[in-house]
Amino acid sequence: MKTMPRTGMLIAIGLILATILLGYFGRDLSKALDARWLVKFPSAWVIPFKTHISAAMSWLVEEAAIGPLAFTDITRAIAWLIEQPYQLVLSLLATGFITGQGPEAQVVLPAISWIVVTTAVVALGQYCRDWALAALVGGCFLYLAIFGQWDSAMVTLASVLIAVPIGAGGGLLVGIWAYRHPLGEKILSPILDLMQTIPIFAYLVPILFMFGFGPISALVATIIYATPPMIRITTMALKAVDPEILDFGRMAGTTDRQLMWRVLVPSASHSLMVGVNQVIMLTLNMVIIASMIGAGGLGFDVLAALRRLDIGAGFEAGIAIVVLAIAVDRLSQAFAERMGQVHHVNPGSWITRHKRSAMVLVLLVLTWVLGQFSPLLLAYPESQTITTGAFWDNAVKYLNVNYFDTFEAIKVFFLHWFLLPIKKTLLGIPWPWAIAMLTLLGWRAGGWRLALMCGVMSGLIVVTGLWSKAMVTVYLCGASVILATIIGVPLGVLAALNRRAGVAINLFIDTLQTLPSFVYLIPVVMLFRVGDFTAMIAIVLYALAPAVRYAAHGVRSVSHELIEAGQVSGCTRWQLLRHVRLPMALPEILLGINQTIMLALSMLVITALVGTRDLGQEVYIALTKADTGRGLVAGLAIAFIAIIADRLVNAGAKGARIRFGLES
């Protein structure tokens, strides 16, 4: 605490107290002073950004042109380009090849049989690593067949197979470009921030205008959402390559191109794979939202099942998404690992060198030929599927009938002692005071640049007239983040200290992250009714993962010498944790909380589906009214909140690292 002198500390505490008091009594105060504009920004002062944006967008879609080419012609051409490979993959996996249309349609070639696909992934798993992986992915695909999710899963897989290469490849290229041009990185950084933080619903309408209806728009939205981590990780990974390797490459006389593709990218491949993994996970995260604008597949099944309150069916389709995610993720990681190794080429003919490919190809032809006579070979028989749907329905019903009063009591307790006081305080803070405090905080944490950014961004939220909705957003996310931290950090510490608990916690977190939140949202509504508490549970469940992961990572990576030093000086286990492990892990934990905030904000649009009244709802209303400007303005407000929080926490984490001598 050397950097902050005693008086500074006192001032800080005083200001925090003043803010809380001001917030709590803000409403009464503004009434007493007859200055309601202090808490409620007058609508006459609002700058109508949304009408300007809407006008600009309709100009772009209807009139903008480069010479004879209209803007929409260009976007439609891009859509056409993406559609070709997508149609090919979709035909192969799901629909089969068909000529003619309507009644004259003929199936030229049916889709690849489930037997062949499953065999192919087993072979791929064995090729990439070992039989254990083969069994895992084979099991995943068998699950899809046995639980009757095959057809939908293949539609989803087709879109993943298109979106992931475009997202990962495009991200890699853009990342390389940013690595080569430092100025490019500076321009790109805020754009990436916006891509990651503006909710997809906000730009769905313009995308539909530009790329037309159907799966292609869904793919484009998915790619926009899933690419930024890849770009970031690429730039970071390339920068982190050991300078000696770089020098060595130069000395060997490589050209720039060779240096990049033969030296830099392979040496960074491990980190790059983390990016690819992120792209896959985010793509599968988007499955539900994509299905709302025409992607079909498993996401649509979840949505349709929940609309008829078939919780079991929704849950099964949701689990199918998790299973698919696990299979694709593990396979891609193993594949990348395998690519990084040196291979010996076995002598012999093509068939002896490619036993597995040959086998899969033979099987493919066999099922196509024999499939004409026995449909079993082409499609998994419906009579052999099993379902656990009734079990889930009954489980929710049992909880509902027997434990509702308990749930209700928990909810009322949280509302009265936790949620409502926070809400009242935040909504009562006069906006000029809030802007001033944010600016001050920015200045303390990161100097005048950060101060300027905090001031301008919060000011912009005020002049768009979204202040109170933004405060509801901050309240909902803030409360959820506090809870997620209280639950997540101890879980992470436990996972780091105890191996067995670690495995279980990891599995739990993986499932929570890939299971579409919509699946558990509806049962939660049944148990807790619509409202803020339900929304908070959904946000906590979704945003828990990074808090756990980063805490575990932070605790694990505390240096052994420090721990030994602690043990030597006679610390108990508890003291070791409190005085050595936790403080040293603090910067990592802070970064985890930062990610938790980001995820909480990205859940907002989903929670609007259970009736919250925040910026997420604003975006959702704009979507259903096809109001581009309104959606983008609210989306930008969410992005601003995210960026302010991100910068402040990052600056705080950096300060903590400097204090502990981890960084200078």
Binding site: Q372, M526, L609
Partner: protein, 315 residues
Amino acid sequence: MKRSLNILSGLTLAAATSATAAFAVESSDPIKLTLHDWSGQLINTKIMGSILEEAGYTVEYVQADYIAQFAGLKTGDLHLAMEIWETTGREALDEATETGKVVNVGETGLMAIEEWWYPSYMKDRCPGLPNWEALKDCAEEFATAETDPMGRYVGGPVTWGGFDDERVEALELDFEVVHAGTDAALFAELESAYQREDPIILWVYVPHWAPAKYDGEFVEFPAYTPECYSDPSVGVNPNMAYDCGKPRGPIWKAAWAGLQDKWPGAYDIIEAYSLSNDEMSAMVGKADLDGVEIDTVVSDWMSANKDRWSGWIGQ
């Protein structure tokens, strides 16, 4: 292999052409129909699609959002939307038809009813129902811990409009309006309360599977008139508007304006197409409650009503 494929395709071709006499269609480009995420709309659209196919047209189904689809209908990316509800979609439909790029093809024959609804067991606790005035005395019966002593009414998503906040005020009902964010959340509340036989009153609409699954009734408010919404002096409360029930209205068919030029025959069929609420409720019940596949429900209707739809094609 090629031979067997030819045999197979020959068979499907024969099956397709035998259904109807060869009917020269204006264009074999696919007519794109939009699908949403509720069963009634899927059934409605697929029946329409099946009839068009029987008439020789090519049909393609596209998944689209209920309101966002108008963007596609305007540009001609999409061609036909089978369920635009007077109650929830009229505003968007009018806005679209004003541009001249979308046309209203008329009613589907289905009538949308939206109103406050309660399960039958609530009648014991609030005996005056379904008359709305009973709600004045037993608002407390509908209270929860959060709203006590006010009753709790679960309204639709804010995007549905509905003027429930205004209605509660105008009719002097001691109710708090809570908005569910989505249709799914709305009915999750009903399912939950129904399982426990707990008090609930909420926004229900038909055609929907809920009234088939749960035993209950609509509240009878003073009947809706346009003046009741626009003129405060009309109705029970002389000082406020919205002192009546919700409007009821048809479910419309909306199409891309170019559809009539490109497929005039199809346009006539679409215009003639009509179903009834009872038919639709029965089909939705079959699909959502008995777990029958939508395609089976559709083909059952097609075979049971051959005369009806042949008549629409023949016009």
